[in-house]
């Protein structure tokens, strides 16, 4: 096996006196679909924020494609090929569905401000190219009909899907999904699982999935990491995790300390 795509090595982050994540290590290989689960407040979203540069780890190393991402601004990390969605949806509320996705194409622009102002043929060609890309993505996630709708007006499930589309528009090698199934009904969830697997295959990107719904996680993930109080308590295939007494204890609550 090649060197892993993403590698967390003894990562710790401390907020004031609180250790939100402690000595966390795990890896994700190219094209893998990995789950990250744990009870509420276990530090899953914090892990996302560490990987994407929103927070900086107090100790430890995070490497992506053999290069450290620690200390880089989030936009630079995105440019290296990590994209994410947010637990509490963060679309651009005043922009249309189309523009939300289009904005994510921003970093791949070959032409800058001067072309935007001069509006020459190169500019028009590139804008058409972006339009085609965006429309293709919307098509895959069947959001074409909503292209001009205000993103706020979309149903909840569609907003989650739109966030995934937007993240994919940055052409990531690794996609971080933060509770994509939250608020979805069983049918939508089933569809989402299909979509995630499809995404992984079609775009060839690895996926790190934080999700509360065990059916979703167990159903699609190749391997699962379990966090509790910021520490990793288990790692393994869905079957292994399902039978791990530590995981069960963490989820059901320990009898007595």
């Amino acid at each position: 096996m090649n060197a892993p795509l993403l590698k967390l090595d003894n990562v710790t982050v401390q907020f004031g006196g609180l250790k939100a994540v402690g000595d966390l290590s795990f890896t994700i290989g190219e094209g893998e679909l990995i789950g990250l689960i744990g009870p509420n407040g276990a530090g899953k979203t914090t892990v996302f924020n560490l990987i994407t540069g929103v927070y900086e780890p107090t100790a430890g190393a995070i490497t992506f494609a053999n290069k450290s991402v620690v200390g880089h601004r989030p936009y630079k990390i995105t440019a290296r090929g990590i994209a994410r969605t947010f637990q509490n949806i963060r679309l651009f509320p005043s922009l249309s569905v189309f523009d939300n996705v289009r904005t994510a194409c921003n970093m791949h622009l070959r032409h800058g401000i001067s072309h935007a102002l001069a509006r020459g043929p190169k500019f028009s060609a590139e804008e058409r190219e972006i339009e085609a890309t965006v429309m293709e993505l919307l098509e895959i996630f069947s959001l074409t009909a909503e292209r001009d709708a205000a993103c706020k007006s979309l149903p909840y499930g569609d907003q989650r899907r739109l966030e995934i589309v937007r993240a994919l528009a940055t052409r990531p090698k690794l996609l971080l999904l933060d509770e994509p199934a939250a608020g979805m009904n069983p049918t939508e969830k089933a569809e989402l699982m299909k979509l995630i697997r499809f995404t992984q295959e079609k775009f060839g990107c690895a996926v790190l999935l934080v999700e509360h719904d065990m059916k979703v996680v167990m159903g699609i993930c190749q391997r699962i990491n379990v966090l509790d109080y910021g520490r990793k308590i288990a790692e393994g295939t869905p079957t292994e995790i399902r039978n791990d007494p530590k995981v069960i204890a963490a989820y059901l609550g320990k009898e007595e300390e």
């Binding site: 994407t52 929103v54 601004r73 989030p74 936009y75 995105t78 440019a79 994209a83 994410r84 947010f86 963060r90 679309l91 651009f92 509320p93 005043s94 922009l95 249309s96 189309f98 523009d99 289009r102 904005t103 994510a104 194409c105 921003n106 970093m107 622009l109 032409h111 800058g112 401000i113 072309h115 935007a116 102002l117 509006r119 020459g120 043929p121 500019f123 028009s124 590139e126 804008e127 058409r128 972006i130 339009e131 292209r147 001009d148 709708a149 205000a150 993103c151 937007r166 993240a167 528009a169 940055t170």
Partner: protein, 326 residues
């Protein structure tokens, strides 16, 4: 291949050039108001890029106007009259001086923007207000620029064409920028900085860019102002002037360029309109008296407007429009 907005710009400029020939015929008073409208459009549309489209709150726009006014005046006073027999005519010197003033203001915007744009909301407002005060203080002390005595002696180069040509260019730049994929970054920064960063947008770069561009246009507006009024004074670029421009942006609807243009026009006319109202002898005494106290009326208008139409007279920008590519 001709882009629609480009054709429109050229057509507008040509129309202004044509109209400019008739501008001499109108009353100097109306001409003064007209130039005031043009200058305020440049200021407000520029500031709208920062306060409206990028969601940052600058409260010191008059400071950049001052930089442009003083820089361009210094340039024309120093080089304008020695060019008589030289290769450049006075109009060229004037336009170069305007651009120089704009660049000076842009530089000031860069120096102020880089450190202070890390701050958000109210903090940014107070820092920009502070910079406004500091620049005023420095000008009051700057002997070569007349210090607290003010700077005069500039010739009246500002005319209808140059004022409205620059207004048209400002509108063209702002609209074309925010309409492009590149410029959607400004809106993304306004809507959600963290999400914007996660989409690979360098939020700092966009904020500074918006700030520098707005400062540039404020500098141009300052130069036009200085070469119209022919006398400038540090007090003319105070906090109240900055508030005026912010009010135009808010009244027009943040991030709504057309609305801001209308608001800038209305707010420039309003005081002169009230001046006229206070003279009508057939109006009831109390009404004329109210019109005389324009500042009280202005402040009340501001409060009532915010209470009843906080989105501005013409509403905010919403995502429904402009989502198609040109």
């Amino acid at each position: 291949m001709f882009e629609r907005s480009k054709i429109l710009l050229v057509a507008t400029l040509l129309t202004f050039a044509g109209l400019s020939h008739f501008a001499g015929g109108i009353s100097p008073y109306y001409f003064d108001i007209l130039i005031g409208i043009g200058i305020n459009i440049i200021l407000a549309v520029g500031l709208n890029l920062v306060n409206g489209y990028t969601g940052q709150f600058s409260l010191g726009h008059a400071g950049f106007m001052a930089v442009g006014a003083y820089a361009s005046s210094w340039l024309t006073l120093k080089y304008g009259y020695s060019m008589g027999s030289g290769t450049l005519n006075t109009t060229t010197v004037f336009v170069l001086a305007l651009l120089g003033g704009g660049l000076g203001a842009a530089l000031a915007g860069l120096i102020v923007g880089v450190p202070s744009l890390r701050l958000k909301g109210d903090y940014l407002a107070i820092v920009t207000l502070g910079v406004n005060e500091i620049s005023k203080g420095v000008l009051q002390k700057a002997e070569p620029l007349g210090a607290q005595r003010g700077l005069g002696g500039m010739e009246q180069h500002t005319n209808f064409f140059w004022t409205f040509a620059f207004a048209a260019i400002t509108i063209y730049v702002v609209l074309n920028l925010v309409g492009s994929t590149y410029g959607r970054g400004f809106l993304a920064v306004r809507d959600d900085e963290i999400a914007a960063e996660a989409m690979g947008i360098n939020t700092t770069k966009y904020k500074v860019l918006a700030f520098v561009l707005a400062a540039f246009f404020a500098g141009i507006a300052g130069g036009l102002y200085a070469h119209f009024k022919q006398f400038i004074h540090p007090e003319g670029f105070n906090f109240l002037r900055s508030v005026d421009i912010v009010v135009m942006v808010i009244l027009g609807g943040m991030g709504n360029t057309a609305g801001v243009v209308v608001a800038a026009t209305l707010l420039t006319i309003l005081p002169e309109f009230l001046r006229a109202v206070s003279r009508y002898e057939w109006l009831p005494e109390w009404l004329r008296h109210v019109a005389e106290n324009r500042m009280i009326l202005y402040s009340l208008l501001l409060i009532v407007l915010m209470l009843t139409r906080p989105q501005g007279l013409f509403g905010n920008f919403t995502g429904k429009r402009n989502s198609k590519l040109q």
